[in-house]
């Protein structure tokens, strides 16, 4: 048996250089994290494929695939929408689009946060076998949840079509908000991934906080129902502002500059926290697996 491998793949690339130094200087740590982000971003095709395969795996063998999600979201929005519109004596044509939109967008936010907690720990076999930028795992999280969001958008489209309410070209104003969400999601993936790898009791804490956040944020109830002079109840709730920059344009409204400013401030704080914690934790994560 003579086996020869005449043309083994030998990608012609410049020789990479890996330099690792035990150092505690902030500049070194920041530079290493910057490299992680840059090299991770270069592996976007890998992150895209990983996210796509996650969805494919989750629904492998099921008839409708990810559309099960669309159906269950649709059923929930339909029943709750009619029920609450009746309870609160709101016009269905006004309340149902609001609820559909809020529910679908909130599902994205909530699952980015809860899956962000396991972003690194669930990739432990990769982390322990090859050197891979941690940013790839954060991108994978966003890709996966964006795909789910894409399926759920059908619910919103269906509601708009049935009720014949179209926000029109105004929806393009949701794009800056969505861009902000991508940045926030990546920051969440890095921050929670690292924190939860170190402290294994964080995920349940995050889970219960998210439950509270769901009820104190206008998702099922509308901000208008607070009544005049009680908007202060939304102050300091980052979920409201971050949700609103995407939700308002999709309802044909303007998000308002105060909402945008608050959303940017919260996002900046999140990114800063994520950067600080990751620059400290990055070199240690492999030991935490």
């Amino acid at each position: 048996m003579s086996i020869t491998v005449p043309d083994r793949l030998r990608p012609e690339r410049a020789s990479p250089r890996l330099e690792l130094q035990a150092g505690h200087s902030g500049a070194v740590r920041a530079r290493m994290l910057g490299q992680d982000l840059v090299q991770g971003a270069r592996l976007w095709r890998l992150a895209l494929t990983l996210g796509w395969l996650d969805i494919k795996l989750r629904y492998r063998g099921s008839l409708l695939g990810p559309f099960w999600l669309t159906l269950s979201t649709g059923a929930m929005v339909g029943t709750l929408g009619v029920l609450y519109a009746t309870l609160w004596q709101l016009p269905v044509t006004e309340y149902l689009p609001f609820l559909a939109l809020s529910q679908v967008l909130w599902t994205f936010i909530a699952s980015v946060i809860s899956e962000g907690c396991t972003g690194f720990t669930s990739a432990d076999s990769i982390i322990r076998s090859v050197r891979m930028p941690f940013f790839v795992h954060a991108q994978r999280l966003i890709v996966r949840n964006a795909l789910v969001l894409g399926h759920n958008i059908l619910v919103i489209v269906a509601v708009y079509a049935v009720l014949r309410v179209w926000p029109g070209w105004w929806v393009v104003f949701a794009l800056p908000g969505l861009a902000l969400w991508v940045v926030d999601g990546l920051a969440i993936g890095m921050l929670l991934g690292a924190v939860c790898a170190r402290f294994r009791d964080i995920p349940p804490i995050v889970g219960s906080l998210m439950q509270i956040a769901f009820f104190v944020t206008p998702i099922i109830w509308t901000p208008k129902q607070l009544g005049p002079g009680r908007n202060w109840m939304l102050l300091g709730n980052p979920f409201f502002d971050v949700l609103e920059v995407v939700r308002a344009p999709l309802l044909g409204l303007a998000a308002g500059s105060h909402v945008w400013i608050a959303a940017l401030v919260f996002s900046g704080a999140l990114c800063a926290a994520s950067w600080l914690f990751m620059s400290f934790a990055r070199s240690r994560i492999a030991f935490w697996m």
């Binding site: 086996i3 020869t4 083994r8 020789s15 990479p16 890996l18 130094q21 076998s129």
Partner: protein, 260 residues
């Protein structure tokens, strides 16, 4: 082979923190801090010193063998050279594309099909689309998977998993090859075929770092041996000398010609 591959290791130490139930918990950590116990806890944190003060340099053409008992730090050193663990003290600098053959699964996802696992590996290595197609063909032919390519790795037989893992791991030629000893194992029929492929890859690599208990492989393939003992370098030199001291007697079967 003339190349620019190079490995520098200076004063490298790696400690593993041993997290018992309490230190994994935020609640316990916060309460300990509140009670003023954190500093004490820090100092008493149990660490395993996997590598201690390791220094060596390898240039293109070097073939290094790592020997030592179980837990001597051989695999940890390979993982550190691969950039998976980062130094706790000291520094490493590795120039050249690195490939680490550490465990047969090597990050394979058992729920994905063989083809999907190959795709992911190709993307990780930054291969273009045609290169990934070639990778797939190469691996499929070598691993003799046939129609199993489309089925999840989970249902493969143990032999098939090893063949796939091996084929995948040896499909891309690196400048620096880090290899753990499981690559010498495998079922008998597969071994000859695997050995031929592996030897091709070892010859093609500019630097080889090999960890094994098989002394004849070290004597055959390596021109330098590090003997690790509890994370320290106990001996460093030409295989014939170090193996003699390690085994307590000269290599039995293949005595190396003196002055080779």
């Amino acid at each position: 082979m003339q190349g620019n591959a190079r490995i520098d290791v200076a004063g490298l130490s790696v400690f593993f923190p041993l997290y018992h139930g309490n230190s994994r918990s935020l609640k316990k950590t916060v309460f300990a801090a509140a009670a003023g116990k954190l500093a004490q806890d820090r100092n008493r944190r149990v660490v395993v010193q996997a590598l201690r003060d390791i220094s060596f340099t390898l240039r293109a053409g070097d073939r290094l063998g790592l020997i030592g008992g179980n837990g001597a730090g051989k695999t940890t050193l390979l993982r550190t050279l691969a950039g998976i663990y980062e130094p706790v003290m000291g520094r490493i600098a590795v120039t050249g594309s690195v490939h680490a053959l550490l465990d047969p699964q090597l990050g394979m996802n058992p729920d994905l099909s063989g083809r999907e696992n190959i795709l992911l590996r190709g993307l990780y290595n930054g291969l273009s689309r045609p290169e990934i197609a070639r990778l797939e063909e190469d691996v499929r032919a070598f691993a003799e998977l046939g129609d199993f390519m489309e089925l999840p790795v989970r249902i493969y037989s143990a032999g098939m998993v090893v063949r796939l893992g091996f084929a995948l791991a040896t499909a891309i030629q690196p400048q620096i090859l880090l290899m753990d000893e499981w690559f010498m194992a495998g079922d008998a029929e597969f071994r000859d075929k695997a050995r031929a492929r592996l030897e091709g890859m070892v010859r093609g690599a500019e630097i080889l770092v090999l960890s094994t208990h098989m002394m004849d492989v070290i004597a055959d393939w390596c021109d330098r041996v590090l003997w690790l003992d509890q994370g320290r370098i106990r001996d460093d030199g030409r295989p014939v000398e170090v193996l003699h001291r390690y085994l307590g007697h000269p290599l039995p079967e293949k005595p190396e010609p003196v002055g080779a």
